[in-house]
Symmetry: C2
Subunit: 309 residues, 2 copies
């Protein structure tokens, strides 16, 4: 799947991923009105609004981008109906040829991580049959429990030709609280990065990159520079662009000289673009076209920065 991701990045010229993290206050009133009319102001109504909103955006941007990253929390907050919308979004994006990165940040002790890995990336056995529960292409994984919490995901990835991105240095303001603490003179995130490199050593695709990727926030470009060198075969998923403060020029060090090795996520900056002054002329009814324009602008920002380095 890392090879498919790279092929699509090359084809689109866009090392970017659109974060499908819908919030009800991003969704145009008319979409909500229609959904509530059909299902009431219920969890089902909210889920329908989210799904219609996502579909509108995906239909407008799928030809420009290689991948999407739905954040499962934004669906899980609406309980079961929300998770049905999550699954529907995954399936629809895959039908459009997009690579789907499930931003699930799961991680547990061995046998439990196996269940998560099977549910999101693999197949679960029921009697003589087997089923894919969620069937994302990639998933994000939390490393706090160490190797035996991550290894089950790697095993399923090898079997199913899928991939993971392990949290190394997250984009949020307090990520440094534990991640930056020095252990033998090096910050924890470097030790995690080193493990990510090891976990992926025997899981390298044809393009030379490992199935075992890393998450490193755009908001910490200097750390990205160090981690890029520490994990040469690791694809880096970079959140924090746009709304969280990261800019194209901050991102160049996350990429290798081949122009690959990183994929930059923007969520709110794309899916709620119509709420920004810059894209206000699209109006609520043109929210998906605003997203399309924001994707184009993001691609230009990053490619300009990469060319200029």
């Amino acid at each position: 799947m890392i090879d498919k991701l790279i092929t699509k990045i090359k084809k689109t010229g866009a090392p970017i991923v659109v974060g499908l993290d819908p919030m009800l206050n991003y969704i145009p009133e008319q979409i909500k009105k229609d959904a509530y009319q059909e299902f009431g102001e219920t969890l089902e109504g909210a889920a329908e609004a989210i799904w219609q909103y996502n579909k509108g955006i995906v239909d407008e941007v799928y030809d420009l981008i290689p991948a999407v990253k739905p954040q499962i929390a934004m669906y899980e907050q609406f309980g079961i109906p929300g998770l049905v919308a999550y699954k529907r979004t995954i399936d629809y994006c895959k039908s459009k040829g997009l690579v789907v990165i499930g931003d699930i940040k799961r991680g547990d002790i061995g046998s439990t991580s196996t269940a998560y890995a099977v549910g999101h990336l693999g197949k679960v056995q029921v009697g003589r049959k087997s089923y894919a529960g969620f069937d994302e292409d990639f998933a994000t994984v939390n490393p706090y429990l160490g190797t035996d919490g991550v290894k089950p995901f790697v095993d399923v990835c090898k079997e199913e030709k899928k991939g993971i991105f392990v949290l190394v240095k997250t984009s949020n303001p307090s990520s440094g609280e534990f991640q930056d603490r020095l252990i033998d003179k090096r910050p924890l995130y470097e030790w995690v990065g080193e493990k990510v490199d090891q976990w992926g050593k025997d899981a390298v695709g044809k393009e030379g990159y490992s199935y075992v990727g890393a998450v490193v926030g755009a908001t910490y470009p200097e750390m990205g520079k160090v981690l890029r060198k520490l994990m040469p075969k690791t694809f880096i998923l970079v959140p924090g662009y746009g709304a969280q403060g990261g800019k194209g020029k901050d991102l160049v060090h996350f990429f290798n000289k081949d122009g690959l090795g990183a994929i930059v996520n923007s969520s709110r900056g794309i899916i709620a673009a119509y709420k920004q002054e810059k894209y206000a002329s699209f109006g609520e009814e043109g929210y998906a076209q605003a997203s399309r324009q924001a994707v184009k602008d993001m691609i230009l920002d990053i490619s300009t920065a990469l060319e200029g380095r």
Copy 2:
């Protein structure tokens, strides 16, 4: 909710929690056969088998114990139908008066953690109405992202009178890989423990314990001893008893002198007790009665150890 948990621990004399972590190979053949007959060998069939299995156990043990801890991964692996069984299990356990600890190990950047907190412990707004998506009483939380990833859970707990248990030192073999690394001469888990103590400072219930608890594995009793002192007002959820190797005598240091301060989880050792030689005489059809006996034995093991200290 921490007060309700403590009241129930006192009433039952059982500082234990039963982990409802069903695996299909734990479930008696007859239950699976009935479920597959009705729903086929499908995700729905598996979910029905899990639900019937859980219900059988809960009906036999609910009067002996204060709480249950369903591990969401074991349900999530069966996709949406699995999560429906998770929700059904929560609701049923609550109807039986049990405190429900959702072992979800979520944690993300601020706004995303808010969505998880709302979905599992709080209520989400849809138009003029609000709904509880999963509605557990407690949830487990991963601290790797630092304060701004944990704080949203604490905020929802205060509002809803619920609680969390933050992963400090997990029970698995490789938990030490990062958690034990020394930072300024103290292991990472102590730094996390100190934060847990701080996060809970202004969220203390009537019984003197905080809504913000900690997870510390039974498999590391010496570390439990240190953490107990470091977090005097923190309730400790202790996994790893039984099948993972922890024994009653390992657990005494997790408790305060008041006999409170900890709640010990056993999953497989209780719910699949009938598969152990010790309880084999119950047979498959007596699986739930075997669980009841295993609960009684666990209570005796722990209370004997506590009295003998």
